[in-house]
């Protein structure tokens, strides 16, 4: 399995904002271009877009750093790990969340040096025991649709407490543009 450690994200509580140096030129819906491969993509989590009375939304950017346009359609797969690499179980739901609108999947073409996006949400209000160290997410592996997840995934630093979300997260489909649609 090949991992590409791509990202850079700040602690969610730090409020920083690190983005790939790419133009936010629009991606657009189409299906007449080749599907993307991980070799031409970089994925980055952006710091939290803000909270919503217990729900946190994290936008991700998918940057096409290849030589030509490519397309994606569907939902990313997400798997979570502690900083030491221990897996953390999670149920990933698709669609609308308290933060993001969650539009239906469409084929999204990402032009060269442009970005697409998806949004991940998790909740932050479940009662927890004092020691939740086994729940401290350190990074997330991201498989993109149409790409065999057994071969390649991207990896992004992402800090949150999975116990406080009761091991449930949700994700939108890949969307055009640089910001997932909110409700």
């Amino acid at each position: 399995m090949k991992f590409r450690r791509l990202v850079l994200i700040c602690s969610l509580t730090a409020g920083g904002f690190f983005l790939p140096v790419l133009t936010p030129a629009p991606s657009f819906a189409s299906s007449k271009v080749p599907e993307c491969s991980h070799a031409q993509l970089e994925v980055a989590a952006v710091s939290s877009s803000g909270a919503a009375a217990g729900s946190v939304g994290v936008p991700f950017l998918i940057a096409n750093t290849g030589k030509s346009a490519c397309s994606l359609r569907g939902y990313p797969t997400l798997s979570f790990f502690t900083l030491s690499g221990k897996p953390i179980k999670a149920t990933v739901q698709h669609g609308r969340s308290q933060v993001f609108a969650g539009p239906k999947p469409v084929s999204v073409t990402i032009a060269r040096n442009a970005v697409a996006t998806f949004g991940m949400s998790y909740s932050d209000g479940f009662q927890v025991a004092k020691d939740t160290s086994a729940c401290k997410v350190g990074y997330v592996n991201i498989g993109l649709p149409s790409i065999d997840p057994s071969h390649e995934r991207s990896q992004a630093v992402l800090i949150f407490d999975m116990c406080r979300s009761n091991h449930q997260v949700s994700t939108t489909s890949i969307e055009s543009g640089a910001t997932p649609r909110v409700n």
Binding site: T13, S48, S55, R96, D124, Q127, D161, R164, V182
Partner: protein
């Protein structure tokens, strides 16, 4: 006999919990010093609650290390500035008339840290003071107990009063019926009282995909305002 009143918040659609349905709604009006719901204000639900006095607003408070804080602002000035922006948004809203204004403190908002309690207390006290100085309005705080304890301290007492809106979800609380019994088990003992004030509203259910469900036994909101109760 205790009366229980149910409500929702954020992007949650109208709920039907309780014998009298949904009685109140709390939607987002802004964050930092910027007005805007970010999608967390459900206008349909707010309208369906049926009485603008039962529609309340909340505001994401950003901590003292938020990148949005003006460089020259002290923590207290930053807290007061956010309260001022909140009041301005509330004043101009044609939908939100509820006179308890809730500040939302949680790790998803920028600028909070478990190692900066002193500044954070100054910020929150200034926020509360600014809201409470407004005519006919009173401050509230929304938080989960972990964040409250990490950011402010479990034994900290606020210098200014607030209505305590607790987020503490229990997977066993699956509907309003179990929520009623769990108010007695979980809220009444005072375990979750914080800052010197009793829990007045309990967000007993929520998730990343919703819905957010709330309840209270304090009927003050029926007259447009919860008023704080000291613990």
């Amino acid at each position: 006999m205790t009366d229980y009143y149910f409500g929702t918040d954020g992007a949650t659609d109208l709920a039907t919990c309780g014998t009298s349905g949904q009685r109140f709604y709390i939607g987002k009006l802004g964050a930092g010093v910027t007005a805007g719901s970010g999608g967390d204000f459900d206008s349909t639900t707010a309208s369906d609650v049926g009485n603008a006095d039962l529609v309340y607003g909340y505001w994401d408070i950003e901590g003292p290390t938020s990148p949005n804080k003006p460089a020259g602002d002290s923590p207290a000035q930053w807290g007061a500035a956010q309260a001022t922006a909140f009041i301005a948004a509330w004043s101009t809203s044609t939908v939100v008339d509820g006179e308890t204004l809730f500040g939302d403190i949680e790790s998803g908002n920028p600028g909070w840290s478990s190692s900066n309690k002193s500044d954070q207390r100054l910020l929150v006290n200034a926020f509360l003071n600014e809201i409470n100085s407004g005519s006919g309005i009173v401050a509230g705080i929304y938080a989960n107990p972990t964040d409250f304890d990490n950011f402010l301290g479990s034994t900290w007492t606020a210098s200014h009063e607030f209505v305590w809106w607790l987020a503490a979800w229990d997977a066993s609380v699956t509907n309003c019926v179990t929520a009623e019994s769990e108010w007695t088990n979980q809220i009444t003992p005072g375990t979750y009282d914080r800052g010197g004030y009793k829990v007045m509203i309990w967000q007993y259910k929520g998730s990343g995909s919703g819905p957010d469900l709330d309840m209270t036994i304090y009927p003050g909101f029926l007259d447009a305002r919860w008023n704080p109760v000291a613990s």
